[in-house]
Amino acid sequence: MAARVQACTACHGREGRATPDGYFPRLAGKPQAYLYHQLLNFREGRRRYPLMSGLLEHLSDAYLAEMASYFASLEIPYPPPRPPVVDSVLLERGRRLVQQGDVGRGLPACVQCHGSAMTGLSPAVPGLLGLPRDYLNSQLGAWQTGQRRAQSPDCMARVARMLSADDVSAVSAWLASQALPPNPRAVKSLPQPLPFKCGGLIAREGS
């Protein structure tokens, strides 16, 4: 399988281990269904990146699922995060939004869906650590403008649209500065039900 997904490695690094130094997100160890949904989203235009869409255009669902399984199965150590480049006030604001949300605005905390350790919820919710800050910024921005979408109902779009530009900057700065916990795997369950309905999870249950 490694040979068959070599096309992915030009951007995502050997075995999909892209580091936080660049722009491209890591693939290795992400939850299988999350990766699979992203491949479908690129192929079907819910996410827009011409190089990705072009590569996937004529690949079957079964093959994309197999590619997703391959990258999900790789357990590769994460490099340490880069030190934060923003001031401590912004960083603290980011931490609070990630861990507590903003009850006054009805904004859920990131950890409510992505897990208290932010390593994701298996099989369809991704972890938030080990990603470049530029990538996090651009994804949240793309969700706000509708450039990135997920299966409907698009819970992440709903959350992203509640964020101001400063919120995005604070959240991405804090997330990008955090090291992975000793066990970087996605959790199997959450202590509480999800705050919103998510199409990506429903599609999974239905399939």
């Binding site: 030009a10 951007c11 190089l51 690949l59 079957s60 093959y63 197999e66």
Partner: protein
Amino acid sequence: MRRWLWGGGLVLGLGVILFAVLIWMGWRQAPESASAAVGASAQALSADQVSRGAYLAKVGNCMACHTAQGGEPYAGGRPIETPFGRVYSSNLTSDPETGLGRWTEYDFWQALHHGRSRDGRLLNPAFPYVEYSRVTPEDARDLWAFLRTLSPVVRENTAHELAWPYRTQWALAFWRGLYFRPAVWQTEPDQSPQWNRGGYLVQGLGHCAACHTPRDALGGYRLGAEFGGYHLPGQGWYAPSLKDLGQAGLDAAGREDWVRVLKSGVGAAAVVTGPMAEVVSQSTQYLSLEDLRAMASYLASPSDAPGRASVAEGPRGAVVSAGPLGVGAQLYERHCSSCHGEQGRGVLGAYPPLAGNRAVLMVQTDNLVRIVLEGGYAPSTADNPRPHGMPPFRLVLRDDEVAAVLSYVRNAWGNSAPPIVPLDVLRGGAAAH
């Protein structure tokens, strides 16, 4: 002086008359009476008829154009770039308001054979009725039987975005006067039934010419250049010649490999990418081997045909030994050789060979540049469900490095072709987006 005025006036007058005659000719191709070619009766659909129609829809690759990215199959809305503007495909599902739900078999025949919509409007020839006109009434009936089984999807048709005068009916009438005559496929009695079947498919539903035949400034086929290869406008891809053995032409010996490429997406030295990957993915992989062989038989050049007419001349000796090829060799070693091999031999079924590969050596380098910049996968097909892919190098190599490595590839292992310059790469990159 007066004589000049008279002469000018005469020429102008004749021009106007000719213009009017062409518009009249294009318009006049009158809808025939409902009973003429196709019975208007609504017979019960037999399962056979529907399955034959489904197969014909694959041959015609109807779904690819009539489905938007991520949209419902056959509900239309896909933009098609033309030099005259953007044309949007229409909803073919059986929805009565936005699709073909109110159409009859007769209406469908008018569209397919005459390029006219149900209301008599002339259709834009981005819908390849120049070819579809050759479809027999029997096949049209089966195709229609299949289309009627498509579940209704409500999707209002998107208006074309065409510049004046291309959006007008009189411009379409003029165009038809120049380039379109309704016709059916004429059997060539001197040729085998297999050849005739292939010709019917290639020239009819297969509409191979739509991409592979060069067009003039008005978008009509250039005379005497059938299947001669065409730079697809606005796409940055070159649809290679199907006649030239130096491009995608085939001779008797190459027929079986050609069939394999169209069936699986991969052949001995070819991997389909770009727009042809879509054709294989959605159309030709579903064709019977018998039909593919018939198409090969029709397209194959006779054994005395001229050979590789457009394989490029090699560079002068000075260029071969110059610096860029040294850089190119190093880049090849670092980025390419692990798959394509030290000797450019590739791996059968996975990585195409580069030594002696006509796709590498062709004069038209658009596709070569494109595949290095953007990478690509062969399509998933029943015969090759898990294809290998080429990584995109757009973000890895600079334009001059792409030029250097491709110039090296075009001149290593016995290959010989003019070098590629950074401007070619810049142009290829710009065409891609």
